[in-house]
């Protein structure tokens, strides 16, 4: 499946990872075009269901990108997100979908290169795993 181009949903927080993505842009750091950012004020806004819905709606992978641990603009939102990502992973395991399709990352507003690397890394991981088994099965 080497010609398979995964579709990856990214939940980015306004203050850190979205800014990091902007910085990657203004620094012209190149990375694969497989990611689609959905901007939220804080990763703590993201519920387990949002993650699952993204997969159900055709994403081959989903990751949540929040502020560095300890520097969340909203104190603890990224920790909350971490927990929720964790439970999303376990749930997926239950219904026999690779938990690796869902990840949590932390980065600061100053880390444009990290944003790009994460995008690369995630794209490769999902390429390994192949298309989401849910692809096309969604009834929307």
């Amino acid at each position: 499946m080497n010609n398979f181009e995964p579709l990856i949903a990214v939940f980015s927080c306004h203050y850190c990872s979205y800014a990091a993505a902007d910085l990657a842009g203004s620094s012209r750091i190149q990375y694969p075009p497989n990611t689609r950012i959905i901007k939220v004020p804080c990763t703590g806004r993201i519920s387990v269901n949002h993650i699952l819905r993204a997969l159900e709606c055709g994403a081959d992978g989903v990751y949540v990108a929040g502020c560095l641990e300890g520097t969340c603009h909203f104190v603890s939102g990224n920790f909350k997100a971490k927990q929720r990502v964790q439970s999303a992973k376990s749930l997926l395991g239950e219904i026999n979908i690779e938990p690796e399709r869902v990840q949590m990352y932390f980065m600061s507003a100053a880390e444009g290169s990290k944003f790009a690397n994460v995008a690369k890394e995630m794209t490769e991981t999902i390429k390994e795993l192949g298309p989401s088994p849910l692809k096309g099965t969604n009834t929307q």
Binding site: E5, P33, R45, G58, T71, F74
Partner: protein
Amino acid sequence: METELRTGVFICHCGINISGVLDIEDLCEYARTLPGVVTVQANLFTCAETGTSEIKAAVKEHDLNRVVVAACTPRTHEPIFRASCQEAGINPYFFEMVNIREHCSWVHRHDKEGAQAKARDLIRMGVAKALFLEPLETFRSKVEPKALVIGAGIAGMTSALAIANQGFEVILLEKEVEMGGLLRHLHKVAPSDMTAAELIGEKIAAIEKDKRIQCFTSAALEEVTGYVGNYAVRFSCGDESYSDKVGVIIVATGGASLKPVDLYNYDGEHVITQSELEIKLKDGNIGAKSIVMVQCVGARIPERNYCSRICCMVGIKNSLHIKEIVKDAKIFVLFRDIQAYGVENEALFFKAKEAGVRFIRYSLESPPVVEDGKVKIYHAGMGKEISLPADLVVLSTPIVAHDDAESISRILKVPIDEHKFFLEAHAKLSPLDFATSGIYLCGNAHYPATVREATYQALGAASRASIVLSHDTVERVGTVAAVKEELCSSCFACVKVCPYQVPHMNERGKAEIEPMQCQGCGICVAECPAEAIKFAYVSDEQITAACEALYAA
């Protein structure tokens, strides 16, 4: 909202920034096929007056009630377009922005096909989300006409005085036992040639005289909560603990000069730092005739790959001061690049050369070697290694961030960069602001700065802060969570999860959220099991819509 949804999509060429990679025509064609879209236009620069007036015109002509702009980042441009919407007579929050520049054309230059597909998807998602946008109302709250300035070095003291002079109260915190910061240890400052003692003396006197400024030394910041115009701060002074309310906060925590442990045989006696030399200069006793200064000690190296900006001028200034004390002193300054930028620095550089101070360039690959009584260095003019007599070696070490930078950044929830300097909102146009409104920075806390630079940054930060203080209220758009009481199951989930302890149980035993305090993170919204918390700014419907639009089968 029974009215028919009529969306206008505006796609920006941004010169060639976007159109250089993406096929704008194709995007327009595509956008026209999306649900609810009644008009699509491309602009060379949507943000230019011409662009925004095209938006306004389109709103009228096509009777739009939703506007989607696909251009650059909302972090810089959303305000303009929201304003345009407002001017066009629709709620500014019926606006959605799609980032096809920073997140697409700029980062996928080598994969135009992939970039094009991504841009289509992003626009589709934006348009889908737009259908669920809701109007937001604006709240207002009182401003505490008082500032907290953290750090009483030259920057902090200058800020405090400026704010006081602009007619507001100031709390000035200094962790040391006395005010003055790094300057306390300096001899004279360039280029004014004033003694550091005089300079800070003046400021300290002014501060002590000024009734509007409360100064606390040996103080430590402990907790900060609240929001712009209305921060609750807790700090300790000695073993006393204080709480107060302020409208704004200025971070002027300064920096420290690096101790060159294990570098160039540093021993604090024959091999010393510039700061240690300053003390000798104060005493007027150098105790050496042949002095060698080494620049970039621990700076511009892989482990610390930044230039500390001021060390070259410190070296030059001090070599001149040495010459004042020891007329016939032989001074060699070993440098990599002399950072004598601007008018006065370059002039001082020439002055030092005139005074007979010698400058020898070395490269990162072949740094000088400090030995007992001499310094060995490769000399390009001689084409060989030479050894310079040195009864005193002075190491110019960089300014580094204070150890407590991290804890302060945590307390204030503002970012620091890889070198632990505080990270401003924007490198070019918001050098003194943090992304968090109501908090500002200046001086070495931001990046190494000369006294002159620290001073104007401090005045600048004071100006930024006074913008908030000079108003009785701050406006707060309703990007906040609100409890739908009829749905609340009083489970306390929101109360437990909120990082700001905003939600509380009201007299009816239902959760309630004070809009002025709500920071709009949405953590509680995601946590509430009863779906009882409404978050109009980023509603579940919007997120779901975006998710559903992710994939076009």
